[in-house]
């Protein structure tokens, strides 16, 4: 990410979270990853003025409590947060989940893989793409 801005990973499964963090580390060592294990925790992080604003959010959809879709709705309805791109990172390939996610404005929908090298390929593709992008800076808000 430009200026090594952090990625916020919203993932309840500790194994998946560890695997994704490892893959992000393997594809781009300097990356800062903040991990929230629920949507509530992620929203609390994002709404705390003292916290560093992430450049990108990687979002699992099936979460306990508030699920990924409700989290997306909350982000998109919040004028302070609705310019942060959110990429779904999920185990679901169900058509209705894909449609619902894009309807709520995701900037990508990646299906997780249990295979480490495949996961590195996914995280590298995400990084290459978002490195090419111009992202909003916190100053402009």
């Amino acid at each position: 990410m430009p200026c090594a801005k952090p990625i916020l990973l919203v993932e309840d499964d500790p194994v998946d979270a560890l695997e994704i963090r490892r893959a992000l580390g393997d594809s781009h060592a300097a990356e800062v990853v903040i991990h929230a294990s629920s949507a509530e925790e992620a929203l609390a992080y994002l709404r705390c003025p003292a916290d560093v604003r992430p450049a990108l959010i990687l979002l699992d959809l099936k979460l306990p409590g508030t699920d990924g879709f409700a989290f997306l709705k909350a982000i998109k309805a919040d004028a302070c947060l609705n310019d942060i791109p959110v990429v779904a990172m999920t185990g679901s390939r169900a058509v209705r989940d894909i449609l619902a996610s894009f309807d709520l404005g995701v900037a990508g929908y990646m299906v997780k893989s249990p295979d480490h090298s495949r996961l590195v390929e996914i995280t590298r593709t995400i990084e290459n793409y978002w490195n090419l992008n111009r992202l909003p800076t916190a100053l402009a808000r």
């Binding site: 609705n82 990429v87 058509v95 996610s101 309807d103 990508g108 929908y109 800076t137």
Partner: protein, 153 residues
């Protein structure tokens, strides 16, 4: 891209449009490239049922008649269109344009590289990302069957 549906390019500059077309050819991107020259024409294309809906929209911002931001406001308010990922491809690095675009749920904001080689690389990166990412495909019988198979599994 992940499927073979068209890519809709909304671009008033004929040189830039030609560059995108050349890059598609060079990278052997199989998706047909549909070209419209402003937001108004793009909406007309999208609202015409006879046209195949694109898998991705590449959108310039500074255009006559209806600019990219105005196009986004309309497209993202339309339930039939708002699922289609829109990637901004522009010369504008204005922070206002970046923030406004992301607030309107764009799926990318890329400054057009001046150099042709870098332009091709940018198109390659876009293609790789949208080949890996799932894309919203409106329900057909196949999609329904796939959906039911997933639910059953």
């Amino acid at each position: 891209m992940r499927n073979s549906k068209p890519v809709l390019l909304v671009e008033d500059d004929s040189i830039d449009a030609m560059t995108v077309r050349r890059a598609f050819r060079e990278l052997k991107v199989v998706n047909p490239l549909k070209h419209t020259i402003n937001g108004e024409e793009a909406l007309a294309y999208l609202q015409d049922e006879a046209n195949d809906k694109p898998c991705v929209i590449l959108l310039d911002l500074n255009m006559p008649k209806m600019n990219g931001t105005e196009f986004l406001r309309i497209a993202k308010a339309d339930p039939a269109l708002r699922k289609i990922p829109v990637v901004v491809l522009t010369t504008s690095s204005e922070e206002r344009d970046v923030v406004d675009s992301f607030r309107l749920s764009v799926a990318g904001y890329i400054i057009k590289p001046v150099d042709y080689k870098n332009f091709v690389e940018a198109v390659r990166t876009i293609d790789v990302y949208w080949t890996l990412s799932e894309l919203p495909v409106e329900r057909t019988e196949d999609a329904d069957a796939l959906c039911q198979a997933h639910t059953a599994g």
